[in-house]
């Protein structure tokens, strides 16, 4: 029988998940200090809470790294305001929000309740990707327990404010992780991004002012309330405070999620936590923050995990999904698998993304099949340059940036495919198949 997920042991620096195993029961969570931050927060005003968030300098954990306190301060006023939690987690290489929900669901619920109180929100919706069926039922269970304890669905801790929290399941679409697409989806439309402005802070869920944050961002809120923003900001670097979850996968001895202070480096993560490469293999490169980010090379292992450090190294920290690639791996196949994903997930709204992701994929498939021509490698780079920066949302860039980095860093490997007219990689190289494009389900033949 296949085993389930394996959770890493935390070390002394862990703040978010400082225990082994899981604490799904509310009694267990409360016995370890859970919901004390909610009590503390209820004694504070909205302004005080926003100030603590600003002092913590917490940067959003969903990918863009936008300061959470500043975002909260932008929320427009109004009688009806909503909180939306982004649990769509679909960027290849990323599985950290899932571990937070599996191991510490009440920390997320407590964060949601503190945030709801802070904005006196009408309700909160946790948008969780549809495939996370088990995680959705764990959250439903945690919400039911919190309701029974009187933390939601009834006046909160002696106030007259009544918080409401709902789980909203997606149905399989990566683009619904992009905030405006998520809101289209929640509003009952196809999950396509919309132009900003209007920003969600003005018109979001149900066209009302909406505060939208990632699961990990909100799960960190109880910690900030407990520690105080200033002491939270003492962990990590000046521009990237606190600890953050990193998802480690690919060719490492010990893959898994690891909570790291943002002052640590990729070497600490990959070699320290991950145990380095499997026996007999050497490092070819590593994707630092989900498959949409440019790859970094072995000589960049000492790059810091902090947002600013990854940018200085020529990539981005993104979602924290770190994919480690060993020397056997064919980078044309790696680029192809990356491009195929973004082609499949393009919502089709704008031309550079819809057509560009398809052409990038087609040219890479041709190259891998041994049918590519030298000038097509430059054509690929040209398409990447034309896609990047020219799309409504950054899904187009998410395809163009990594593919360009794979070509530029491993150009001789791409050239070799043309020169030999075949893939030069050995038979035991990972990724053995060239698949036909994944299509969405065809429309039914019957008219309705």
């Amino acid at each position: 029988m296949p085993e389930g997920p394996t959770f890493a042991q935390p070390d002394a620096s862990a703040l978010l998940l400082p225990f082994a195993g899981s604490r799904r029961e509310i009694a267990e969570y409360e016995a370890n200090g859970g919901y004390a931050s909610l009590r503390k927060a209820v004694g504070m005003t909205s302004e005080q809470l926003v100030d603590e968030m600003i002092a913590s300098n917490l940067r959003g954990r969903g990918g863009a790294g936008f300061p959470a306190g500043k975002k909260a301060s932008f929320l427009a006023g109004g009688a009806e305001r909503y909180l939306v939690i982004n649990g769509d987690e679909s960027e290849p290489g990323t599985f950290k929000d899932r571990e937070i929900i599996l191991r510490n669901p009440h920390m997320l619920i407590e964060g949601v309740l503190i945030y709801l109180w802070m904005i006196r929100g009408t309700a909160a919706y946790i948008y969780i990707r549809g495939e996370y069926a088990k995680e959705a039922s764990i959250l439903e269970g945690a919400i039911a327990q919190a309701r029974e304890k009187g933390y939601l669905g009834s006046p909160l801790l002696g106030t007259d404010y009544v918080p409401q929290v709902y789980v909203h399941r997606g149905a399989g679409a990566y683009i619904c992780g992009e905030e405006t697409a998520l809101l289209s989806s929640l509003n009952g439309e196809r999950g396509q991004p919309t132009a900003k402005p209007p920003f969600p802070a003005v018109s979001g869920a149900f066209k009302k002012p909406t505060l939208l944050n990632n699961v990990e961002t909100v799960a960190t809120v109880p910690l900030i309330v407990e520690m105080g923003g200033a002491s939270y900001a003492g962990v990590g670097t000046e521009q990237s405070t606190g600890t953050k979850m990193f998802s480690l996968s690919g060719h490492v001895r010990n893959p898994g999620n690891y909570e790291m202070p943002l002052s640590a480096t990729y070497r600490d993560l990959i070699e320290g936590k991950g145990g380095g490469m499997p026996e007999g293999r050497t490092l070819k490169g590593f994707v630092p923050g989900g498959s949409s980010m440019p790859i970094l090379m072995p000589n960049q292992l000492d790059t810091g995990l902090a947002f600013e450090a990854v940018v200085a190294a020529g990539s981005m920290a993104g979602s924290g999904g770190v994919i480690v690639v060993d020397d056997r791996t064919c980078m044309v196949r790696f680029a192809l698998r990356t491009a195929e994903f973004y082609m499949h997930e393009s919502c089709g709204k704008c031309t550079p993304c819809r057509e560009g992701t398809r052409w990038i994929t087609e040219l890479l498939r041709k190259l891998e099949a041994g049918l590519g021509r030298e000038e097509e490698i430059d054509l690929l780079l040209d398409i990447c340059n034309r896609v990047e920066g020219n799309c409504l949302c950054v899904l187009g860039d998410a395809c163009a940036m990594p593919v360009r980095s794979h070509i530029n860093n491993f150009r001789s490997e791409f050239d070799e495919h043309v020169r030999l007219g075949r893939c030069p990689c050995p038979d035991d190289a990972p990724m053995t198949e060239l698949y036909p494009p994944l299509m969405r389900a065809p429309l039914p033949l019957v008219t309705i």
Binding site: A173, G188, A441
Partner: protein, 162 residues
């Protein structure tokens, strides 16, 4: 099983705007009908007071809605980067051989639909296979034969995690 119309009304109650209940409504309908047949879409449209065309437009956007009949069980194999690096292609190929189909496809006995899917969010525990929405991590080709014989002997799950 509660009737579909009532289930949809219960979902509507969670939102200030009934349109927002479309994903849960489509999910319930798919559980009732096995797939989103024209009648299933009519039932969703009826429950939400929206047009069937709108329901189809929304349903066709998402990978988890079936607009064609599927087998009693659905097996999905992730072949995205992290899983592919640790051998998911071989797992998919072995599933295809065991079932005698090419993904996406349904075994001749109508029991199992096999699909290749994008990242499922279990990348460090790959290869990841989702069986009727239940994840199985660290999946090995040896796990396939016992799984398939178990699925062949089990009826369609009626309400998964509802």
């Amino acid at each position: 099983m509660a009737d579909l119309y009532t289930q949809i009304q219960d979902e509507i109650a969670k939102y200030p705007d009934r349109r927002s209940a479309i994903l849960p409504a489509l999910r319930h309908a798919q559980e009732h009908y096995g797939w989103l047949s024209p009648e299933a879409l009519e039932a969703v449209a009826d429950g939400l007071e929206l047009s069937p065309a709108h329901c189809l437009a929304v349903a066709s956007f998402y990978d988890m809605f079936f607009l064609q009949p599927v087998g009693d069980h659905v097996v999905e194999v992730c072949t995205n980067l992290s899983c592919a690096l640790v051998g998911s292609d071989k797992v998919l190929r072995a599933f295809e051989q065991e079932l005698g189909v090419v993904a996406p496809g349904t075994s001749a006995d109508g029991k199992v639909t096999l699909r290749r899917v994008e990242c499922l969010g279990g990348c460090g525990w790959g290869p990841v296979v989702s069986v009727d929405e239940d994840y199985q991590e660290h999946f090995k080709t040896e796990d396939i034969a016992p799984l398939i014989s178990e699925l062949r002997a089990t009826p369609r799950p009626s309400e998964s995690h509802a």
